[in-house]
Amino acid sequence: MRAVFVVVLALSLVVLLPEAAWACPVCFDSSDENRQAFIATTVFLSLLPLGMVAGAGLYVRKRSRDLTDESSNSESLD
């Protein structure tokens, strides 16, 4: 219930008070380029590790399936 309240409050801030929602304690100026750079790098640095871990997981799963297929094929030939 509390989580829903926080989400509704955050969404209300974005919709009703966009300037307050964009307020950033570490942004040094409010220029558009600067804001865009902060948003882009935040998205990039948040998604990159998730993408790498997901990619590695998918690769390991594929390799594991390939090896299982190979070993079952060689057993059936024996």
Binding site: A37, T41, S64, L67
Partner: protein
């Protein structure tokens, strides 16, 4: 009757390659952090002027040619892998060529640094200079480390002691050095 032992299964990824993959993941995050910091500082430049007024310009064309040497070195290393799979003896020349091309890249970068220092671009001259030496210098340290690893690989190949997992591990590191460079070039030089 003795219990039948299960057949030993090949590891999904060789241990060396797995270790190198984890190391490369951390390196990707390291360079991403540097690129992000560079992007933000660039966006805050006074009057959106980047490079800042009074700072020397980077040699874009010469470095593009030098980047080509690095990219070709990476491609030659792919051929080295296939040659090694066919016959390890055939991998000697492409591996040596890859090392030579990589050395040309590092050597040219060193000469470029000397020229830029003489022109007044230093770590202290501006955030532009600071980021240039930090990002390109970090890449150079990785390139030198990877070249030393390739030389070790070449030595083992000459002694007929090189295993395919060792070549794959060192190659993965060199591919990282090669593939991260165009991104750094685009961010820092262009």
């Amino acid at each position: 009757m003795p219990a039948k032992r299960p057949a030993k299964r090949e590891p999904v990824i060789p241990n060396g390659v797995l270790g190198m993959m984890i190391f490369i993941f951390t390196e990707i995050m390291f360079f991403s952090g540097l690129i992000s910091a560079h992007t933000i500082v660039k966006s805050q430049a006074a009057g959106q002027m980047w490079p800042p007024y009074g700072q020397p310009r980077l040699p874009i064309e010469e470095t593009a040619l030098n980047s080509l040497a690095l990219l070709v070195s990476g491609m030659v290393l792919v051929f080295t892998w296939f040659a090694f799979k066919r016959d390890p003896g055939q991998a000697r020349i492409p591996l040596l060529l890859s090392i030579i091309l990589g050395s040309i890249f590092v050597g040219f970068q060193g000469a470029e640094w000397a020229a830029l220092l003489a022109d007044g671009l230093t770590m202290q001259s501006s955030s532009y200079g600071g980021f240039f030496y930090l990002i390109v210098g970090s890449h150079a340290v990785h390139a030198v480390g990877a070249l030393l690893a390739l030389l070790w690989t070449y030595d083992r190949l000459n002694k007929d002691e090189l295993r395919s997992s060792q070549l794959a591990t060192v190659s993965a590191f060199w591919y990282f050095v090669v593939l991260v460079w165009p991104i750094l070039y685009w961010q820092v030089y262009l």
